[in-house]
Symmetry: C2
Subunit: 204 residues, 2 copies
DNA sequence: ATTTAGTTTAACCATTTGGTTAACAAAAAT
DNA sequence: ATTTTTGTTAACCAAATGGTTAAACTAAAT
């Protein structure tokens, strides 16, 4: 069997497809551009992935499976609520530095085709809020944390972490920053965001 | 001159284009679909707007000029910081109910083509943070509010308000809600978000 | 009544695009 | 050594797409 050769090509295609799909979206991406980016013939894309749709789904699933563990950490590990918030904030920011296009890509494509989410949810280890909710309610009853629903707190944590990267062009304009100063703003958020959240929910 | 007729057609085109562009984006939108939606011949689109690009820009600018006043309110009116946060939160949520596609559309298209923002910024009455910053610093020095940069606070306010609508499909999955229960969650946020922010920044 | 100017349509066009095919190359298996 | 399987390419194809054109239609101005 030829192994090295085709696994290599398949990987090259996925790399190229990831680059093109994540920067232009499903509708804006062109099969020819992906082939050029991978340095191969366009027919190879169909040889390995059959159609644009299936190649796209491969890229999307890859991206989603990178994001999921980030979320599981905050929802299911054993640390305290306060530590979870701190850990999530700092790990999310370093995640973004490695995969800057992922959040935008996922949000954009989910809005284009919300059915994607249905398939994802069928996965039995799709993250859920149960543990986080239980833990939060315990802290609320113990009087450590002000009353808030787990759903709302989860949304707030996600919002404060993810939004600044989604809305980068808009926020750069409003805060009157260049690329560099905006990155600085984002770096400051690593501590800023978690203390903001903790101030909001902690009883004094 | 025939006036009523053509102004009507132009308006119908804009309505249809808004619908199609805002739900499918520039790349996903088809001129034929816009024409069908408007109930007219495809050639009319070019007669009135010359090209897909120009028609798109008309729709984009319309959308943006609906959003801008929302932001100006929080940045430039005379109320206290606390009131601004409350007002923005509740007015933003009712804005979304009237124009549910706008935030997604703007964020998506700005990421596709950040140069759009450059033209917008050239507008002399493009919103800026100066007044908000001055007002916030005064409150911080007076000891009413904990130290935080105006940029970070502004980002946080935007994030908490806008993100839940951008990430609706994702958050519906995580919070395990259907359309109806998710709308309820959003309704709760009208008070939830502003008290969350105020708790985070107010000195006790 | 006729000219004039703007509006609308059907038919058409060139290009782009996702996808296919048939022939060729290179390993593996026999 | 030769057959078979797998990988790769260039050329091709049909459908879709943004855009154009020339003719027909409409209503106001003369």
């Amino acid at each position: 069997m030829k192994k090295s050769k085709d696994e290599n090509t398949e990987q090259q295609i996925l790399e190229a497809a990831k680059f093109v799909f994540q920067s232009k979206g499903m509708d804006g991406a062109r099969m020819q551009e992906i082939a050029d980016q991978a340095g191969i013939n366009k027919a190879m894309l169909h040889y390995y992935f059959r159609s644009k749709q299936l190649l796209f789904e491969a890229v999307f699933n890859n991206a989603f499976s990178l994001l999921a563990p980030q979320l599981k950490a905050i929802l299911n590990d054993e640390s305290s609520i306060e530590d979870k918030i701190k850990n999530f904030t700092s790990s999310y920011i370093s995640f973004i530095l490695q995969h800057p296009y992922i959040p935008n890509f996922i949000i954009q494509e989910l809005n284009r085709n919300p059915d994607f989410m249905i398939k994802m949810k069928e996965n039995p280890n799709f993250p859920n809020l149960d543990k986080f909710k239980y833990q939060l309610n315990k802290d609320i009853q113990a009087g450590i944390i002000k009353p808030i629903s787990a759903e709302q707190l989860f949304i707030n944590i996600m919002a404060l972490n993810v939004f600044p990267f989604l809305a980068k062009p808009l926020l750069m304009a409003f805060t009157n920053s260049e690329n560099e100063t905006y990155s600085q703003l984002m770096a400051e958020r690593e501590t800023e965001v978690s203390s903001f959240i903790i101030n909001a929910i902690k009883k004094n």
